[in-house]
Amino acid sequence: MHDGGKATRVIGIRSAEQVLTKNMTTPDSAKDSLTSALNSNIIPNREYLLQGSVVDQYVEVLLHRLRGLCDNVDDGAETFYDHEMCFSLCMNSSGNPLVFPLRVRRALDAQDAPYQLRYIGQQELGDKNRPTIVRSSIDVACSASIVEFLQELGCRLDFEYTARGYMFRKGRMKITVSKICKCGGGNKPGENIELISQSYLVELSVLAPSGYDAIAEDMRVFAEQLKPLVHLEKIDYKRL
């Protein structure tokens, strides 16, 4: 879930000169190539997720363990400081309320990183045998005009927060350990920071094309290794 601007720094604009110079055929329209990508199921639009938390005084223990378990052993954990804004596009169509949630995330510690626009779909908890939550997710790197764009599009800012913490990588898995802060009034994150809890939020997630359920098992095994420090579980927050 924590796909901060930093976590996936994809610069949107790439020069096509190398790609195109030798290609004499007509380039496919972007729509066509997207459709073919959808059909061949290579777009990572499913997120496998486990969540948990750790009390502040034990976070060092957890970080130490993660440093040992994860791939970024040599350079240590990467820190991030992201600001997330959650928008929704609502309307009433013939009595049916329609809501389309969108999240914008940006790195506060790397101002030149692109913003990250994110759509997160309905959570699927599945039965007991499924080790993780699965939800559809579309991640799009975008320019800084996204906030104004969404506001003018008709979106309403539901809530916003900042997440500051550490990010680890283990194969395809991403582990974030972060402190969630409420943003003070106004649009200036960094001021009037208010912690909402004495714990760090711990999330283990993988973005994969649909059908890659084997990765969920890997995640379960990894989560097992963090016990009893953190219990990473499927949490249906809508039921809480």
Partner: protein
């Protein structure tokens, strides 16, 4: 009176013989194992055998120190007849270990003192002890005691630490709190506790908003769970069967902020 004593002696001897036989068989079994199963024998079973032996030894010494056991020390065994001839009965009794009850074997078998070698050693030690001056001995004893208590301290300290550690490991709840997890997850997922104070102009379609806002500060887990937001109710009611395919649709149906 004498008869009773005799009976007692008999029964005591019987039980002693039984114990000794037990001990013998288990030693034999162990020797057999060592000789024949040395390839498959593992350390734990070997230790088990030792435990068996020591059990037998303890029970034997228990019987010997029992109240009802007559004081064997006061009894004497008197060899009435020695003969150099082979005694079949004796051979059978001793599993063909001792075939004759002759004068060259009897002193060894009926000996009540320690073995000559051991006896010598004991003598030497006693002699040495006798020559040590009293003060010196006292000093040595004190030093020895000091060392022992020191080690005892170390051991008990380590034990204490282990106890604390294992008890700390026992309650994993200390590391993470379920209520905090839920608080964080709902905050990140639905903005619970993160929403700004509802704006005065009150956009239409946000009537539930003000009720959704959790109390300021850090809401305790009790208050957070006790207060069931109305939207959550509708959400659980509307929680459509999993047949819903499109995400948009399902999201809109259960989204708490809908009208």
């Amino acid at each position: 009176m004498q008869q009773r004593e005799e009976k007692q002696l008999e029964s005591a001897l019987d039980s002693i013989i039984q114990r000794v036989n037990d001990l013998k068989t288990s030693i034999a079994a162990m020797i057999y194992k060592v000789e024949n199963e040395y390839e498959t024998l593992n350390w734990p079973t070997f230790l088990d055998n030792f435990a068996l032996l020591s059990g037998h030894l303890t029970s034997l010494s228990k019987i010997l120190s029992h109240d009802k056991c007559p004081v064997l020390r006061n009894l004497t065994v008197l060899p009435l007849m020695l003969s150099p001839e082979r005694d079949e009965q004796l051979a059978q009794l001793t599993e063909h270990r001792v075939t004759t009850f002759a004068h060259d074997l009897v002193p060894d078998y009926l000996r009540t003192k320690l073995e000559p070698l051991a006896e010598n050693k004991m003598m030497q030690l006693e002699h040495k002890a006798a020559t040590v001056a009293y003060e010196n001995a006292q000093k040595q004893v004190a030093a020895y005691q000091k060392v022992v208590t020191h080690i005892w301290d170390i051991v008990s300290k380590a034990r204490e630490e282990w106890d604390v550690e294992s008890s700390a490991r026992g309650n994993a709840q200390q590391h993470s709190s379920v209520s905090d997890t839920h608080l964080l997850v709902t905050a990140v997922g639905m903005g619970k506790g993160l929403k700004p104070v509802p704006n005065a102009n009150g956009q239409p379609g946000q009537p539930a908003g003000s009720m959704m806002v959790a109390p300021q500060g850090r809401p305790g887990s009790a208050s957070g769970q006790g207060q069931i937001p109305p939207a959550t109710q509708t959400m659980t009611m509307n929680k459509a069967p999993s047949a819903i395919k499109t995400n948009i649709k399902s999201a809109t149906q259960i989204h708490p902020y809908g009208r």
